[in-house]
Amino acid sequence: MRTLEAGQPVIRFESRYRARDGSYRWLVWNAAPHVGERLVRAVAHDVTERKQAELALQLTNQELETFSYSVSHDLRAPLRGIDGFSQALEEYCGERLDETGRRHLERIRAAARRMGLLIDALLHLSRVSRTELRTGAVDLSALARMVARELQERDPQRSVGFVIAEGVTARGDFTLLRVALENLLGNAWKFTGKWEDARIEFGVETAGGWPVYMVRDHGAGFDMQYAGKLFGPFLRLHEAAEFPGTGIGLATVQRVVRRHGGRVRAESALGQGTAIHFTLGGEEQDGKEDVAVGAKTKEANHEPNRRHPARRG
């Protein structure tokens, strides 16, 4: 009221009211004084449902925190026991085991280590959802170059040509966008592993006035028949022996993109490579799901804009 008396408008003032039935309603007020007319024009919006959703979200996040804390502390310790004591068994009793016994022991250890990786991947995915978003200007070209350099250093034998567009910037959370690019470029790196002189591109296009970022490779690609599984956590489209991984990469990318209010879609063709396109918010929100669309397929030629609902993570 003091603000209004001082001749200033009141924007988005939230207050809670008790209704006759005893329930509470939340209203958001926008009001402006018109001193000459001795009037105050005010509009109130009932935002009770939004408030309730926020409260529910807060509770869910707290539960997620508790769950992740427990996973992080309690689930990894028994695996260290399985791996450590299997190794002890191998050392102390290995000679009494035959070849099959030793192979079984090695499989127990490999399974424990793999479960450790899956737990870490799960925690990583949940951290992407839980981390507070800190938005700023991010030089995506520099970030992509940094990730590319790291990939090359980890595997110096491979000859991969990176084509990274200059001056690509975005507003977003540096840490999360780094996670997204690590996964996208890391996937491109992995799925071009069997190609000599592979090429990986990063760039930006404009669609409807908004930037659409893109990572493209000319590697293994995937059959679009299974595209619905692309963004689901722990779902993989290649056999582990062919391309190892936990199946968490694109699910993580999708969460990062969604947290920025954007969408992600994939185009791929078996043996020809994959392109992942993503936005970071701003474009028209039409309520459509993140999608995977087939490139160079009959269906795509007939209906280039047809969208397939993807399985959600």
Partner: protein, 149 residues
């Protein structure tokens, strides 16, 4: 060969105690290992060891390997106690835990942990981590001077 120093391992999980002993042996660290199974036991041990340090300086551990998730008095509470008590506040403490949650890392650094190390699931990696820790804290690092009783 005489032990070159003592480690206090604060750990309630029997498997992790045995695995840590094994990792220390594998690294040939030749140190005495004291075990505290709870936060309270660790505090009692350390306060007594530091109070008696004038008579028995070798009884003060060169490093405390502290698990964070402990029954009743947890690792962070142990660390806070150690840092607020004049007799124990300079003790080198390494948080050795399964978690790498940001919340745990921050909560350990706030009262002044000397190092935060996540225990790897892979036992070979765990042996390597214990080797690095042991060589650093037992051989390379100069421990803080024993306070006057």
């Amino acid at each position: 060969m005489n032990p070159i120093g003592a480690i206090l391992l604060v750990e309630d999980d029997t498997d992790d105690v045995d695995l840590t002993r094994r990792a220390i042996q594998k690294n040939d660290l030749r140190c005495e290992i004291a075990i505290a199974r709870s936060g309270q036991e660790a505090l009692d041990y350390l306060v007594a060891a530091c109070a008696n340090s004038g008579r028995n300086p070798a009884g003060v551990p060169r490093v405390v390997l502290l698990d964070l998730k402990l029954p009743k008095v947890d690792g962070i509470a142990v660390l806070r106690h150690l840092r607020t008590d004049e007799r124990t506040r300079r003790l080198p403490v390494v948080a050795l835990t399964s978690s790498n949650e940001q919340e745990d890392i921050l909560a350990s650094h706030a009262p002044g942990v000397n190092s935060f190390v996540r225990k790897p699931v892979n036992f070979s990696d765990f042996v390597k981590a214990i080797g690095i820790l042991g060589r650093y804290w037992l051989q390379l690092n100069e421990p803080p001077p024993v306070p006057n009783p």
